[in-house]
């Protein structure tokens, strides 16, 4: 309980400890704390940025999807239109072809009719000639009367 040199010893050791603490203990730890604080702040900022970017990307993706849908709809529409056109064209073609066939058939029929008529005419001429010969009971020059008979037949 008496004061002695312990006092001075304690003051010296206290000073040494303060110096040591100030030099070797305090700065590295506070440095680490500050660095970590910065790192955390950076991390949070990066996370925010990431979230924003993700939102933007989502929006862009939605837009793209929308566009694609629109494009698909357009393509389908065009395809339908084209199909209708093709069907119409096919119908037209078919009709034309039919008409053509019909016309050809008609022409052939006409030809046949004409041919038949010609044949008939020939036969009629012969029949008429024969008839006339019989009626006249005399032989006529076939060639001289042919002209006359032909005119007659053409008037039939």
């Amino acid at each position: 309980m008496n004061f002695n040199a312990t006092l001075i010893g304690q003051m010296i050791s206290f000073a040494v400890f303060i110096w040591f603490c100030m030099r070797f203990v305090w700065p590295p730890i506070t440095q680490a704390l500050t660095t970590r604080k910065e790192k955390i702040a950076e991390g949070l900022a990066a996370a925010d940025r990431g979230r924003q970017e993700q939102e933007l990307a989502q929006k862009a993706a939605l837009e793209k999807l929308h566009e694609a849908k629109q494009q698909a709809a357009e393509i389908i529409q065009r395809a339908e239109k084209r199909a209708a056109e093709i069907v119409d064209a096919a119908k037209d073609d078919a009709r034309e072809e039919g008409e053509r066939l019909m016309a050809a058939a008609r022409a052939e029929i006409e030809q046949e009719v004409n041919r038949a008529r010609e044949a008939l005419r020939g036969q009629v001429v012969e029949i008429a000639t024969a008839g006339a010969a019989r009626i006249l009971k005399r032989e006529l020059d076939a060639t001289a009367n042919d002209e006359l008979i032909k005119d007659l037949v053409a008037q039939i």
Binding site: G9, S13, F14, F20, C21, I29
Partner: protein
């Protein structure tokens, strides 16, 4: 001596005596064998036990914290680094709250005071007879293991703080400003002598109250441990009761030792803050 003192007053006295090394009255150097001999040695003697435990605990603190500091990373901290960071953030907050100036010294100073004083106080929680008995077996007569129950230690701390207060006062206000603050307030200038007395007392009371508060609390706490320990010699029932009391007082004492370390630190910061601030 190793057999231990017989009566309770001798027991108490034995526990309150430091192991003092110095020059005996007859001129030779050696350990004092009683309080009286220690007193006769005068100022140039040293309390070996206080000094050893104080420096040992300080070195332990520095070693532990330096270990954390040298491996400190900004990444994920390990367990010990986490604890050290927790302490340092606590101190840093206290300093920011109380100290308005800019100084690289104050925060490490506060950390040193808080942890060191806490460790020195903590020695109070080690069973009161354990280390002195072991030392007695090894042939050492006296051993006081709680450095903060030695006024030399607490005054050593507070006087260092006082010197820092003076240094900061003069650094921030100049010699004239500091003396002016002592002489020219709170009363007008022509009452300078009265001002000097008032402010002088105010100034001196800072280190005295700082060290005596710590010393008084720790000394009283130690005394209660010793008194309760006396009950062990009172038979089975009283001894058991004493053991329970020891436990209860130790648990309560945890609060006191932490609080005293915190108060010492906070007041140091406040005194240094006052030293840096202009009053007018």
């Amino acid at each position: 001596m190793a057999a231990g003192p017989a009566t309770s007053s001798e027991y108490i006295k034995h526990h309150l005596t430091n192991l003092t090394f110095g020059q005996h009255a007859d001129g030779h150097w050696g350990f004092a064998h009683s309080m009286g001999e220690a007193a006769e040695m005068g100022f140039w003697a040293i309390n070996v036990d206080s000094m050893l435990f104080s420096i040992g605990l300080g070195a332990l603190f520095m070693w532990g914290f330096r270990k954390a500091a040298s491996t400190a990373t900004a990444g994920v901290p390990g367990g010990w680094q986490n604890f050290v960071e927790w302490v340092i953030e606590f101190i840093d907050e206290s300093v920011r709250g109380s100290f308005s100036g800019q100084s690289r010294l104050v925060a490490p100073l506060a950390l040193t005071i808080f942890v060191w004083v806490f460790l020195m106080n903590f020695m109070d929680l080690i069973a009161v007879d354990l280390l002195p008995t072991l030392a007695g077996l090894a042939g050492v007569h006296f051993l006081k293991i709680v450095p903060s129950t030695d006024p030399n230690i607490t005054f050593g701390l507070s006087l260092t703080v006082f010197l820092l207060v003076l240094f900061y006062s003069i650094k921030f206000k100049g010699v004239g400003g500091f003396l002016g603050e002592l002489a020219f307030q709170p009363f007008p200038k022509w009452l300078a002598p009265i001002n000097l007395i008032l402010e002088g007392v105010n100034l001196i009371s800072k280190p005295v109250s700082l060290s005596l508060r710590l010393f008084g609390n720790m000394y009283a706490g130690e005394m209660i441990f010793i008194l309760i320990a006396l009950m062990y010699s009172g038979g089975m029932v009283l001894g058991t009761f004493g053991g329970l009391l020891q436990l209860g007082w130790a648990i309560f004492h945890i609060l006191i030792i932490t609080l005293q370390a915190f108060i010492f630190m906070t007041l140091t910061i406040v005194y240094l803050d006052m030293a840096c601030q202009e009053h007018h």
